[in-house]
Point group: C2
Chain length 337, copies 2
C-alpha cells in the first residue's frame, strides 16, 4: 500500500511549485488557465486528495468540524435531531463529529474534551450534567456552544416549546369538557423538559380556573411503572376522565393500562408523537415535536456565531404542534374530542 500523494507529488507531476497547486485547489491567487489544466490533470492522475487536517493546522483557525453530543442514539428523538443538524452543517461544508454521553456528565466532559482536541469549530450539546463544565471548556477554547433540547449555563440554546405545547394539549382536553386531567410523567421533574411539561399542565388547569391537585400527578420511569401509575390514577375516589402523558414511555404505559382494562371512556393525549399513533384504536392525538428542526436550528445558531454574531446568548424555541387524530368512518368514540 503506497503512501498517499501529497501536494508536492502533484507539484512534481505537473512541473510547478507546491504553492501553485495550492492556489489552484483553493481558487486563491491568479493562475494561468494552462497551468491550472496541468495541475488538475496531475491531481486526477495521482488521485490526490488534500489533507484537511494539515490545512487546518496551517490556517490556524478551527477545523471544519462541529461536535454533536447526544445522550443516546437509541432514542429516535435524538437520532432525528442528529439528522437535522447534520443536514444543516453539511450544506455549509462542515463535518459532524458524533459523541454519546449516555446522559452522564463525566462522559459528556470526556467527549467534549476529545472534540475540542480536534479543534472543532462549534459544539452542539444536549447537556447531561449541570452543563457548567462543558460551558467552561467551550469558553476556554473560544468555541461557540449551543445547548440542545435543554438549556444550560452561559450559552445559546434551542428547545421545544415544552411548556406551551403541554399547555395547549391539556387545554384541548379541557375544551372537550374534561375537568380532571391526570398528569403522567417522569418524576421528580428535575430534567428541564419534564419540569416544563408539568408546568404546562398546571398552567392549562389554572387558565381554566381548575385546581391542580397533587393526587392527579403520577410519576413513572418505565412502561410498566407508567401502566401501574395510570391504573392508580383511574382508581382514585375522584378519578381523572382524561390523561396527559408527558412522554413516550408514559404514553405507552397509559395505552397498555387503558387497553388491558378495556377503559375506552378515558381520554389520552401524549407529549411527543408516536410513529404508530394513527394505527392505534382509537388513534392517539399528541403534541408533536420537531426534532430535526431542533437540530437544524441549533446548527444555524452555531453558524451565526461563527459568522461573528456577538450578541448575548439567546434561547430559540421550536414550536410543537398539536396533532389531533380521529378515526374516520368509525362509530367507536375516540380518546380525544
Amino acid at each position: 500500500m503506497e503512501r498517499r500523494p501529497t501536494l508536492h507529488d502533484v507539484a512534481g507531476e505537473a512541473g510547478v511549485s507546491a504553492k501553485t497547486v495550492s492556489r489552484v485547489l483553493n481558487g486563491d491567487g491568479p493562475v494561468a488557465a494552462a497551468t491550472r489544466e496541468r495541475v488538475l490533470a496531475a491531481v486526477g492522475r495521482l488521485g490526490f486528495r488534500p489533507n484537511l487536517m494539515a490545512r487546518s493546522i496551517r490556517t490556524g483557525g478551527p477545523d471544519s468540524t462541529v461536535g454533536l453530543v447526544l445522550p443516546d442514539l437509541g432514542n429516535p428523538f435524538f437520532g432525528a435531531l442528529a439528522g437535522g443538524a447534520e443536514g444543516a452543517l453539511r450544506g455549509r461544508g462542515l463535518t459532524v463529529l458524533l459523541g454519546c454521553s449516555g446522559g452522564d456528565a463525566a462522559r459528556e466532559a470526556e467527549v467534549v474534551g476529545a472534540f475540542l482536541a480536534r479543534r472543532t469549530s462549534a459544539l452542539l450539546v444536549v447537556p447531561s450534567g449541570g452543563g457548567g463544565e462543558t460551558a467552561a471548556a467551550a469558553r476556554a477554547a473560544g468555541v461557540p456552544l449551543v445547548y440542545l433540547d435543554r438549556p444550560g449555563p452561559g450559552a445559546d440554546c434551542v428547545v421545544s416549546s415544552n411548556r406551551a405545547g403541554a399547555r395547549e394539549g391539556v387545554a384541548h382536553l379541557l375544551g372537550a369538557g374534561h375537568r380532571r386531567v391526570g398528569f403522567l410523567g417522569d418524576l421528580p421533574a428535575s430534567l428541564y423538559t419534564r419540569r416544563e411539561r408539568l408546568a404546562g399542565w398546571r398552567e392549562a388547569l389554572a387558565a381554566a380556573g381548575l385546581p391542580a391537585p397533587a393526587e392527579l400527578v403520577a410519576g413513572a420511569r418505565t412502561v410498566a411503572e407508567a401502566e401501574r401509575a395510570a391504573l392508580a390514577l383511574l382508581a382514585l375516589p375522584e378519578p381523572p376522565t382524561a390523561l396527559f402523558a408527558s412522554n413516550v414511555i408514559a404514553a405507552t404505559g397509559a395505552l397498555l393500562a387503558l387497553g388491558r382494562s378495556g377503559r375506552r371512556d378515558v381520554a389520552l393525549l401524549s407529549f411527543d408523537d408516536l410513529p404508530l399513533a394513527e394505527v392505534l384504536d382509537p388513534p392517539l392525538s399528541a403534541v408533536a415535536q420537531a426534532p430535526a428542526l431542533l437540530g437544524a436550528t441549533a446548527a444555524r445558531l452555531a453558524l451565526a456565531r461563527l459568522d461573528g454574531d456577538g450578541t448575548p446568548p439567546r434561547t430559540e424555541t421550536v414550536p410543537t404542534r398539536l396533532v389531533l387524530r380521529t378515526r374516520t368512518g368509525e362509530a367507536r368514540p375516540p380518546y380525544c374530542e
Copy 2:
C-alpha cells in the same frame, strides 16, 4: 480571546524542552519524576490540550476517527445503528465522523470523500449506490471499509439475518395453521434487504410444500399504499389468512387496513419490530433486528482490520429474533429461555 496554548508554551512554563513535554504526554521515553510533575503542573495551569490534528499529521498514520455513512438519521433503525457503532469505537479511543447520504450514491461519494480527506482510519457505510465508487475510494486510500446492513463489492459486511429471519417468521405463521400467507413489502425488491426478506418468505412456503403465487405478493412504498395493498390481498378470490409485512411501513399500512376494516381474523407478523407493538390490540409479533449490535459488530470488524487482520473480506450476520407477543402482553422471545 487568547490563542490556545501549545506544546511550546507548556515547555516554556515548565522550563523544559518541547520534546520533554511530548514525552510526558505520550508516556514515551524516560522522564524524571520531578520533571514530569513540573510539566503536568504547567499543563494544568495553562489548560493545555494537545492538538490531535497536529499529532496525526506528524505521525503520518490515519487519524483517530472513523467515518460512518448512513442513509437517513430520521429512521430509528439507523439511529440505533449509529449508537452501537459509536459506543464500540469510543471504547477504543476513536471518534465518529457522521454523514448522511440520503440514499443517494452521489452524496455518499461526497461524504466519503470528505471523510477520506480527514484521514479517517476506517469507514462504516450503509451503501446507497452500487457501492463501487466507495470501495474504490477506500481501497485507493488504504482505509478499511465495512458495509453495514447491505453488502457491497469487495469489502467486509455486516447484515441482519434477513432471509432466515423472514423464513422463521413466515414458518411461525405456517405452524399456526395458515396455508396462504401474503407478502407485503417494498417492491421491486431491488434493495438487498427487501430481496432477502422476500426470499425468506418463499423459502418458508417451499419448506412447507406450499406454492408461492405472485398474487400473494404486494408492493407498497408508503403507509397508504400498504393499506390499499393489504386490502387488495384480502379481497382476492382465495385471500390469505395471514400477512407478512416485510418492513415497518408495510406493517403500519397492514395494521391500518386490518383495524379500519375490523378484520380480526387475519394474522399479521412484521419484519423489524415496532416500539408500540405490544400496545396494539391484538399485540403484534415481529422479527426483531438488533441495529445497535449491527453497528457495534461493524465497528469491531473495522478495528480488527486496523489491527492487521488481512484475511479475505467476510460477511458477518447478526441474528434476528422472533418476538412473539400474546394477549397477556408477555413477550416470549423463543431464544431467551
